[in-house]
Amino acid sequence: MLARTSLLIFSATLFCFPAFSYAGEWSGYVSGEFRAFANSPADARQHDNNLSFSAQPEYYTDWDNGKQSFTVVPFVRWDENDNERSHADIRELTWLKAADDWELRAGIRKVFWGVTESQHLVDIINQTDLVEATDGEEKLGQPMINLALIRDWGTLDLFVLPGFRERTFPGEKGRLRFSPRIDTDQAMYESGDKGQHIDYAARWAHYLGDWDIGLSYFNGTSRDPRFIPGSDNKGQDVFIPFYDLIEQWGLDLQATLGDWLWKFEAINRSGQGKSYTALTTGFEYTVVGIAGSSADLGMISEILYDERGDEALTPFADDILLAGRLTLNDEQSTEFLLGMIFDSDDAARLLSLESSRRLGANWKITLEGQAFINITNTELLSGVRRDSYLQLELARYF
């Protein structure tokens, strides 16, 4: 179905594409990545250290004085050990038309909503490409038609979302996965239309002085599934993803007051068990020019709350994030982000590091890592308790 919907939107996109278009431009990157794990795997089928390569070219062209454009961004990854992580996707394939008080976009796209750093509750349009990164920041392209109305009272975005994308999960050989593994081949849906259910969404966003505000609504297939115990065709235990039909309201707020950014995100979701509320709120305080240098130090703290507590599908039910962001503001754009999420109920800790630096004009080196500390066998994250890792990535941009 996805293929058909995509094809439909693709054809529609081609119709809008003028025969006499200007030559477009190519950009993108190719990247190699090496992951080293601190411990041997919990499951003998899983691998130790891992090598992987990815590429994401981008083609862009515009016409009509820049008021119309066409963008294609394919993505491909090859993974040494995990067949599920070796995958390809169309991140973007969009036609855009911008007018004075509206913008229309048709095709496959990525949309981001929200303001917080530790998790993105409000952000719901795109499915998470979980094999790409455990932090959930990587997304699959979503087919859509999006009309934005741009008025004095803010921007109202209306979305029709045909073609659901299932969440990606590491395969049986992959690390950083649930235990038992998630069997995506047996995915189940509440809707009789399964992945063909058409979802709808809307978002109003505005800013007033120091305040940026967004109010959103979503009606359709939940991007995060519930998990049902089952067995695969080899008779081994697996979790089967189940996608409910949900309705979700979201609110995101940011106040930018001098060196302080105050952030708030909340959702109310119904249709996935009992209706519930979850929120993330906190601040980022930046010390500009620490110790007379040109470096900035940001201190981030956020509270993560989910009304469902231990029943939540997220490991972040009642947690606190403390993080520091060091930005050197140097020629190589060197950055470090070190953060720890504390479970307020027990001793579980999630430590994460992200740092990057440009090398020369076109290369970038990234060091990332996560440590899973004091994770017990009963926790949602128990599958990753032996998967603390460091990852070195080298990317060539063109």
Partner: protein
Amino acid sequence: MHNFSLNIKHIGLLVLASMPLLAAAETPEEKGLAIAIEVDKRDTGWQDQTATLEMVLRNRHGQESKRNIRTKTLEVDGDGDKALSIFDSPRDIKGTAFLSYTHALVPDEQWLYLPALKRVKRISSNNKSGPFMGSEFSFEDLSSQEVEKYSYKYLRTEKIDGREAFVVERKPAYKYSGYTRLVTWVDTEMYQPLKIEFYDRKKALLKTLTYSGYQQYEGQFWRSTNMSVVNHLTKKSTDLHWKDYRFKTGLTDRDFDRNSLKRAR
């Protein structure tokens, strides 16, 4: 939007300015302010401007790195300009866009668009003194120069590189400036800066910025082709090479909103 209406603040300043020009006995402060107002007045009415910019960063060993940026600016009557900068290189930040609504005395509003995440981030504008893209230019050096941002004192008139210039001392009136004072050489014909010396919070000479290759556009507006800044403490330098200046291209507020950030190219 860009009509001929002047706000009260501007009229007040113009009245203030034109009187001392006529009066014989003006104080150095009055003369300094009058020059600043004339600079502002002569550079009013360009409506909007687009240009491309090559930034060359040089470290103390002479090693270079480059950034390519396109800029769009909208003149706003009675307030600071709206500006959009789009990065073409280095390639890892290609498509990153920076939107700012500058103001004279209240903090600017700034948003950053991160194309990899498709995320528009409102950012704090208190980093005025911070380096722009790792260069020797700070955000405040590159933001629009409103009259109200400084207090002024005329020092002298002297020749610099064969051109007659007013030497005017400016002291930032806004919080978070990285400078205690700036000494500016203003060309007496073009009413454009030829050189600026920046003094840091310890009152030591921090940087010298020189302008060259001025060209006139639309029969009125002077723009320099090259701006070169040297940091005397770090011995690093940054050159800006401006190209393809265009004026009155028909840009509106709509080209400077958060939606336009997401499709900036």
